[in-house]
Amino acid sequence: MVSAMHLTLALNNREMVTQMDHDLLKITNLEVLYSVDDDLVRAVNSVSLKLQDKETLGLVGETGAGKTTLALSILGIVPNPPGKVVAGSVEYEGIDLLKLSDRQLRRYRGKEIAMIFQDPMTSLNPVLTVGDQISEVIRLHNKVSQSDASSQAKNMLELVGIQSSRYGDYPHEFSGGMKQRVIIAIALACNPKLLIADEPTTALDVTIQMQILDLMNKLKKERDSAMLLITHDLGVVAEVCDSVAIMYAGEIIEQGSLKDVFEGESHPYKLGLFNSLPDIDSDVERLESIPGIAPDPTKLPKGCKFHPRCKYCTEVCVSINPEFIERTFGHFIKCWHIQPPNRGNTV
């Protein structure tokens, strides 16, 4: 009885704390469907997510887990058709973006929320100079003259480490890493409060990856932006994120602070992810992998989406989808058989 009261008190307290902390982005029960021919692809299933000012949240998951779709639906640019946001809300500073008209939404895109795309090779328009592409976003959101916009664009180029004399160069004259710098310049040109980075380093060399991450992190801190970093690289997450959400088959299965997720209790899927990483201290012939493949999103299994691949699976897993349970303060896990902390996986 006492403990129950204590718990409600604690919850109320937390409620107050989060209100004071001010959620920059609050996604509630978001569902996104793709209809391809007669099949319904459930890309995002009832996802809830919160992001605070200046926070960096890592969104981790396999290919096809719905990470990119989630990111696109924040900006309202899920390709439609075939995609459609069917339920839920995306509140940005208390305003539900899903209820806005396209005209109203355009004021947020690029100005308040900016996105960095996965493949720098294809995310720049090949027939426009990089300078034009940076000043385009400045001119779209600010009433400035062409010359002011281009001097601002030159500043942005310098900021991301490109000589401003390359303002008039075309994308094909840049390397992949340099292009990604240009894209970062475009994304940050209007000082967005939220930066969505969709696997920004996946298409780059390992040597360049670190540079780009450092650059993004540095600029993000200088400009007090929050960041949603989508990746499947746990090393990247450990390096830059404050908190982590793990996605599997369109659901978030575990979420918490970096420390909680890396050192605390665990969803079996996350355990599998960590066990598949090479460990510098142990000498193993083969890395462990998670058996099976991610489920076909047109035929998601009943109950827990992970149960066909889970070694802890029991009857309850097959029939009932587990709740998202708060295990410790701010650390949520969606599983019937939560695994104890694995001491081997310290950050």
């Binding site: 900006l75 004021r107 895109r109 493949d119 995310s123 027939v127 426009l128 779209l140 894209i183």
Partner: protein, 285 residues
């Protein structure tokens, strides 16, 4: 930047690749030459193209009359030179009109999927009819003169542009930089004009040169059968038509204007081929 200090714009890249193709360069030179001839026709022609001289009828080509004279004693060389004006004017204007309307339709069809079926099935109806038959029907309905023939030629050429543009926009539309443009808050019209159209033009330009060839040949054919430019205007198709009766004895009356058509269309075809190679990035060396 290049070693010569010039910027490497996409246009310059295309020109660099185009220059390497000597045949296409030849085609371009011939075309420029024809345009110059057409523009300065009154200063080049040795005789008035309409002046009749019954003392010198049906003279074979010689030093005074390079292409000979016709049955009214008119200098055929002067008439062929003035014909350049008609031919190029008809070819360029009809194809430009067709390209503008056709590309706009193709762009809308590809960009707004709701319009796709309406627009493209309409284009299919136009393509379904043989081009010549369609032209003749339109001219027959509107009346035989040069303006109506040009309308007919434009309508006939339009669906090809709509198809080419639609196909191209469909591939460009789904590229990541369009998504990126959307993510910075660009509106639909801005995305279409600034991001999609410039990236879709390459095949349209090639289609344009081939369209001009087609329009020139069709206009000559229509004028030949009396459904286009009316005599006494010196259109090439008309010149051939007028010489038809004398083909056995005064062959030059047909052959020389015919040669002008052949040279023009050949030059345009070479130009079109060269442009296609130069604009196709897969053929980059």
């Amino acid at each position: 930047m290049n070693s010569d200090g010039k910027k490497n714009t996409p246009l310059r890249e295309v020109w660099k690749r185009f220059k390497r193709n000597k045949l296409a360069l030849g085609g371009l030179i011939v075309l420029v030459f024809l345009i110059v001839v057409g523009v300065f026709a009154p200063y080049i022609t040795p005789y008035d193209y309409a002046a009749q001289d019954y003392t010198s009828r049906l003279i074979y080509p010689n030093a005074q009359h390079w292409f000979g004279t016709d049955n009214f004693g008119r200098d055929i060389f002067s008439r062929v030179i003035f014909g350049t004006r008609y031919t190029l004017f008809i070819g360029l204007v009809c194809t430009t009109a067709a390209a503008l309307v056709g590309c706009a339709l193709g762009l809308f069809a590809a960009f707004f999927s709701k319009l796709d079926n309406v627009i493209m099935r309409l284009m299919d109806v136009l393509i379904g009819m043989p081009a010549m038959l369609l032209c003749i029907s339109i001219v027959a309905a509107l009346g035989s003169n040069m303006r109506n023939m040009m309308i007919a030629l434009s309508v006939t050429a339009m669906p090809n542009f709509a198809r080419v543009m639609r196909a191209q926009v469909l591939t460009v539309r789904d590229q990541e930089f369009i998504e990126a443009a959307r993510s910075i808050g660009a509106s639909n019209s801005r995305i279409m004009i600034k991001h999609i159209v410039p990236n879709s033009l390459a095949p349209v330009i090639v289609q344009f040169t081939l369209g001009v060839v087609n329009a020139i040949l069709m206009s000559a054919s229509l004028s030949f059968v009396g459904m286009g430019v009316q005599p006494p205007n010196p259109e090439w198709g008309l010149l051939i038509s007028a010489g038809r009766a004398y083909l056995r004895s005064e062959w030059y009356m047909c052959i020389l204007p015919g040669l002008a058509i052949v040279i023009t269309t050949f030059a345009l075809n070479l130009l079109g081929d060269g442009l296609r190679d130069a604009l196709d990035p897969r053929l980059k060396q």
